[in-house]
């Protein structure tokens, strides 16, 4: 494996973008917007967050500019692959009443353009594995997800700068990327180690002015990734917590966390493995036409558990408990693993800093 790694000097990095663009990809990469690193269209390496570090704590996120040369010296921002595959809102179909009184349904045919994502992290690729199984590999593949997913070209970056909220090492999902990528990068001060994992990736790699990576470069890169795992301060037990959680449905901690939780849904909507959605119709004023939409939903809303006049989970205690017992408990029955890949987003982007690792520690102690 090591000898297959190539070195791309920093000065040649723009070539990667131009190769992708000439291969027909629209490039999405990390860039700073509104005080956060977001994944949005980029047109050149000058858009990348060079020298930027992130500061994450429960309920807090900030950026800091340094003079360092690196583009990827930070951990995940608010979103990455999720909105690129499972969009916040999609129109599914339109119904129209014809002059003769009949109703005609017209499904949208999902279109996607080829998109190259630069800088996918291990946690998000592990989450993509779950999304792929959920949306694409079941009996009824989701056409919207599938269309977008099949057009993705993924360039992973192995993590070297975990945030204080990252805990992928304890879930076994990072910091080294292991799923779904076409190319993977390890960033060094002087450039990048680059390896291909797919034919598409090989084709792009073939157009780049790479050299053979030195043994020293490979050693430095590997050490930085290992250190990134060791430096993580948070963690969750790696065993299946389903039985222990379901045996403690009356634990007093559910009440305590409900005192703090805003039931605001942020944790679930930033989570790269959450897939809940609801559907609704937007009729025209005269009722001759109606558009049917799917949009992100969450187990923290009232309608999520509304069935025939009854809201099964009317309060925050039962909603938070539903979230956690599913995410790291019954998820095992569904997917053969926990639904948490350790990205830490739910901790950072919870407006009141509720920490899944602390809650699990308190309940499963």
């Amino acid at each position: 494996m090591a000898e297959r790694r190539n070195f791309l000097p920093r000065s040649e990095f723009p070539r990667l973008l131009s190769e992708l663009i000439s291969a027909g990809y629209r490039c999405i990469g990390p860039r700073v917007r509104d005080g956060a690193i977001v994944y949005e269209p980029i047109t050149g390496v000058e858009d990348l967050p060079q020298g930027i570090h992130d500061l994450q704590a429960p309920g807090q996120y900030g950026l800091e500019q340094t003079a360092e040369p690196r583009f990827f010296a930070w951990a995940n921002g608010p979103q990455a692959l999720r909105p690129l595959t499972f969009a916040g809102r999609d129109k599914l179909w339109t119904a129209e009443r014809k002059a003769d009184g009949s109703v005609e349904f017209a499904g949208e045919s999902p279109q996607a353009e080829p998109v190259a994502v630069i800088g996918a992290r291990a946690c998000d690729l592990a989450a993509l594995y779950i999304y792929d199984r959920h949306f694409m590999q079941g009996e009824h593949p989701d056409p919207w997800y599938t269309a977008r997913r099949q057009k993705l070209f993924l360039i992973a970056v192995h993590c070297t700068h975990p945030s204080l909220n990252c805990f992928c090492a304890s879930t076994g999902d990072g910091p080294r990327a292991s799923y779904g990528y076409d190319l993977a990068l390890s960033e060094l001060d002087e450039g990048f180690l680059i390896e291909a994992r797919s034919e598409k990736g090989e084709r792009i790699l073939a157009g780049l002015p790479v050299k053979k990576a030195s043994a020293e470069q490979i050693e430095t890169a590997d050490r930085e990734i290992e250190d990134a795992g060791r430096r993580q301060v948070k963690g969750v037990p790696s065993r299946n917590l389903k039985d222990v959680l379901f045996a403690r449905l009356d634990h007093p901690r559910w009440n305590e966390v409900a005192q703090r939780c805003l039931s605001c849904t942020n944790c679930t909507l930033v989570c790269p493995t959450c897939f809940c959605h609801s559907e609704n119709d937007v009729p025209s004023l005269d009722g001759s036409r109606s558009e049917h939409y799917r949009e992100w939903d969450s187990c923290f809303t009232q309608r999520h558990s509304y069935i025939h006049g009854i809201t099964i989970r009317p309060d925050t205690r039962t909603r938070y408990r539903q979230w956690l017992t599913h995410k790291v408990g019954s998820w095992h029955d569904q997917f053969g693993r926990s639904g948490c890949v350790g990205c830490g987003r739910c901790i950072t982007w919870c407006p009141v800093g509720i920490d899944i690792t602390e809650e699990l520690a308190a309940i499963c102690r």
Partner: protein, 259 residues
């Protein structure tokens, strides 16, 4: 539909801004006038306040004796009654007097009180007569009012948009101004419907759509209290535009007691 739906738009103590959700609707307004019989809508020039209606939208709060009588008559003449906007659903700014010495405020402002008909409180419509649903917002928008009209025209119950602003924020990939900038965003306690106007331009939500379902104003306030925000300022966040909405009123009272 052989008989057209009779629609009325009434005004009480308010700035008239919510009625603009109809007047600024463009083609939809024309369509509404074709599909329905608009029996009263003074701002659009149609005046018949006592006309019976199938659907009445009520803008404004109840602030005078005359208004208290008039809303009762309208209720009797109306099948489905929908207060629209912060004044009608929670009293709005004029209800700030409910927290103060209203008599003194009036004496400070008006030289001749004998010409002023006023109640000591400004109250939401639902505090005066039974209502069938409420549309929140300061002001409400065209999408909201037209969605309600079209549902009712089709005989379907209108959707209660009771989720939190945060959800729409996330669907739109807006970077959270509370987490990334420490702004005092009320999105996690506020009802959706505005389309995330404020965080969408990088500022904090100030709760003009009123409380969402199942809010936790104590936790929201504690977060900022720990960061040094005085309890009275936290109280004022809740007792502002929607000061008489129960969940905001009670949260605000608890914070005021602490200050």
């Amino acid at each position: 539909m052989d008989k057209k739906l009779r629609v009325a738009v009434h005004k009480f103590s308010s700035c008239d801004g919510c009625q603009l959700a109809f007047l600024n609707a463009g083609e939809k307004l024309v369509e509404l006038f074709e599909l329905a019989d608009v029996v009263h809508f003074a701002e659009a020039g149609i005046v018949d306040p006592d006309a019976p209606a199938d659907l009445a939208f009520i803008e404004g709060s109840i602030s005078t004796h005359e208004e208290r009588e008039r809303i009762r008559r309208i209720r009797e003449n109306t099948r489905f009654l929908v207060p629209i906007g912060a004044c009608a659903t929670s009293g709005c700014l004029q209800a700030l007097r409910n927290q103060a010495d209203a008599a003194r405020w009036f004496a400070d402002v008006y030289s001749d009180l004998s010409k002023i008909d006023h109640l000591d409180t400004a109250t939401p419509i639902a505090a005066n007569v039974p209502v069938d649903m409420e549309l929140w917002g300061c002001p409400v928008n065209t999408r909201q009012v037209m969605a309600t009209v079209s549902s009712l025209l089709l005989g379907a119950p209108p959707r209660d948009e009771n989720e939190k602003i945060c959800m729409e924020c996330k669907r739109k990939n807006i970077v959270c101004v509370m987490v990334a900038q420490g702004q005092h965003c009320m999105g996690p306690v506020t009802r959706t419907g505005c389309g995330v106007l404020c965080p969408g331009i990088g500022r904090d939500c100030y709760g003009c759509y009123g409380p969402a379902e199942n809010i936790n104003g104590d936790s929201w306030g504690r977060w900022f209290e720990q960061k040094g925000m005085p309890a009275e300022r936290i109280a004022r966040r809740f007792r502002y535009i929607n000061s008489e909405a129960e969940a905001f009123r009670e949260a605000g009272k608890r914070w005021r007691e602490k200050s």
